[in-house]
């Protein structure tokens, strides 16, 4: 009795949604950023699941998925670096990282 593909997809989907909810609900930019990471990882989970459950004739999982996961992780890391740099610059300039304080550009 092993977990099915559906289990993994559901779980990762839920995680994705949690991340999305976080992005919509939190007002602290850093935490919003964490939630984005959460979303990316959720995607990774289903990727790996798909690649594992999609076995080719040689009996090997479809490694394209895992390669993509690898890229996603790298990109995510780079994104975090740049993003945090921006956030730090913002904090230096405005002493805040709350979204309400970022509304000079509107309408």
């Amino acid at each position: 009795m092993t977990p099915t593909l559906g289990h993994y997809l559901a779980v990762s989907g839920l995680l994705f949604i949690i991340g999305l909810a976080g992005v919509i609900l939190r007002r602290n930019i850093i935490i919003i950023f964490m939630c984005l990471e959460l979303m990316l990882n959720a995607a990774n989970l289903s990727l790996v699941a798909f690649s594992r459950f999609n076995v080719n004739v040689a009996g090997l999982p479809n490694y394209n998925g895992q390669v993509l996961v690898f890229f996603v992780i790298t990109v995510a890391a780079a994104e975090v670096a740049v993003g945090l740099a921006i956030i730090v610059a913002l904090f230096r300039a405005k002493q805040t990282i709350h979204v309400e304080d970022l509304n000079s550009l509107k309408f």
Partner: protein
């Protein structure tokens, strides 16, 4: 007749970028000369792009995820050109830029500001010939991340930072969506290469098609984010307003163009399934309609020209989406290519003039243009031409673009979109002519500062104006490149 392999172009671009970074880092050359070097290098690459031969049959870069067809080459040149123009604007923008940089010396940070667009350019060029979701994702991210940096790079200007953060959060969000979408498409088809997907799709059972649609929807979302389609356009006005002007121009032209190319590439394989095709027709029509209405109508009350141009870029995304949505009348690639080419000319012209006026007056309000017709006829003429072209007046390339778009729309019976177009075009006249009114009707304020225009800028303005008008009368050369 020498011939270089197509993928050499990007490599050359990257090499130019790295070389210049080194120069910037290890030598004390004048930063502006770096800019000139970049321009000349990219020009050389444009020349090179006319010498490309066919793809070599090598294992290194399989056809599956790197295609070089005529449109791709066209858009590579397009992107190179827009990068060159961006760098020209950036060099012209340097004085303003330096004011907002925590500087330890003259021309601080200018080097990076001039060089980073080159890498963005490389990313965009990869994007336009990407034919594999992994490839698309990676090059897209390269572009996005470099734009994060460029947008936010004026660190002493809170506007720039705010724009950076907004772009960062929403961009990352859309990244999340595209990854998740790719996941689903890959998961169901087991493929990441579009060609393979095309082959795999017809074999799928009905239930899996739902998943495919789910994934495709998510991908559409983040591409919609790139091309500023409603309701994923929210970043556009703010970021355009906040970002350094050259970067705004770069965003609104190059990134949007690449986005559309990818959009067309990604959609193409899914049209083979009739059910999906029908669904896509609906979705694209809705997107186009919303984008048209929102972009044009919300632009009408604007008073800040940079923001107005943001909305207008949404509006033009709407017209381009009409082109995408009318795929049933035949391939819409050339039409969109032509429209984008025209859009490049007029947008850069507009931002070039805006940049001069803004530097003199210190803000981007439309009222700063009051009496420009007498203060600086050259700039006024340039702005006039670009505004008329944006509004789609005949004998400008903008009109032909719109004409082709609506011809295609009628051809594929998109009457709803045409009807909406009737309203939006006329409101477009309203808000573009607001600028013309400011320039020619209003009298200049007495303390209106004089505006200095460098000869090179004059040359650029003339070049762009001529381009707009010539291609507005003889579009054939462009169309030939796109066929």
């Amino acid at each position: 007749m020498i011939s270089v392999p197509p993928f050499a172009l990007e490599i050359c671009v990257v090499c130019v970028g790295i070389f210049l970074l080194m120069m910037d880092c290890f030598t004390k050359v004048d930063k502006l000369s770096l800019g000139w070097a970049a321009i000349s290098g990219l020009l050389a690459i444009i020349v090179l792009s006319f010498l490309t031969g066919p793809m070599p049959k090598s294992l290194i870069i399989p056809q599956d995820f790197y295609v070089v067809d005529q449109p791709a080459l066209f858009f590579k040149r397009f992107i190179l050109l827009s990068t060159i123009l961006t760098i020209c604007l950036a060099m012209d923008y340097a004085p303003v830029y330096e004011r907002f940089i925590p500087s330890g010396g003259p021309q601080a940070g200018l080097g990076e500001f001039l060089i980073l667009p080159i890498f963005t350019c490389a990313g965009l060029m990869w994007m336009v010939s990407a034919a594999d979701f992994i490839m698309i994702f990676v090059s897209l991210e390269l572009v996005t991340i470099s734009f994060y940096v460029l947008v936010a790079s004026m660190r002493k200007n809170t506007g720039s930072l705010e724009a950076g953060v907004k772009y960062l959060i929403l961009g990352a969000l859309s990244t999340g969506f595209i990854v998740y979408g790719i996941t689903w498409i890959f998961g169901v088809t087991g493929q990441t290469a579009l060609r393979e997907i095309r082959l795999a799709l017809p074999l799928l059972s009905q239930g899996y098609l739902v998943a495919v649609l789910f994934g495709l929807g998510l991908v559409l979302v983040s591409l919609g984010f790139k091309v500023a389609a409603v309701p994923f356009q929210f970043w556009v006005p703010d970021v355009y307003q906040g970002a350094p002007t050259p970067i705004t121009a770069f965003l609104s032209v190059a990134s949007k163009a690449a986005g559309f190319v990818v959009l067309l590439r990604v959609l193409e394989p899914f049209f083979v399934i009739s059910s999906i095709e029908a669904k896509l027709l609906i979705v694209l029509t809705v997107l186009a309609a919303l984008t048209l209405i929102y972009g044009n109508l919300a632009a009408m009350p604007q008073t800040n020209l940079k923001r107005l141009l943001g909305y207008s870029s949404i509006a033009h995304a709407g017209y381009l989406l009409i082109g995408v949505a009318s795929f049933r009348g035949g391939p819409s690639g050339p039409i969109i290519g032509f429209y984008l080419a025209g859009y490049l000319l007029m947008t850069f012209l507009a931002f070039l003039v805006l940049q001069h006026v803004a530097r003199a007056s210190g803000s981007d309000e439309i009222s700063d243009f009051n009496g420009l017709g007498r203060r600086s006829p050259v700039l006024a003429l340039g702005m006039l031409v670009s505004m008329l072209s944006l509004a789609g007046l005949p004998f400008t390339v903008g009109f032909l673009g719109k004409f082709f778009i609506f011809e295609a729309a009628m051809r594929s019976h998109q009457y709803l979109l045409v009807a909406i177009g009737a309203v939006t075009v006329s409101s477009g006249f309203y808000y573009y002519l607001k600028v013309v009114r400011a320039m020619y009707w209003q009298a200049a304020p007495d303390d209106a500062p004089a505006i200095a225009v460098a000869p090179f800028s004059k040359f650029l303005i003339a070049f762009l104006c001529i381009g707009i008008i010539v291609f507005g009368i003889f579009p054939q050369p462009l169309l030939a490149m796109l066929q």
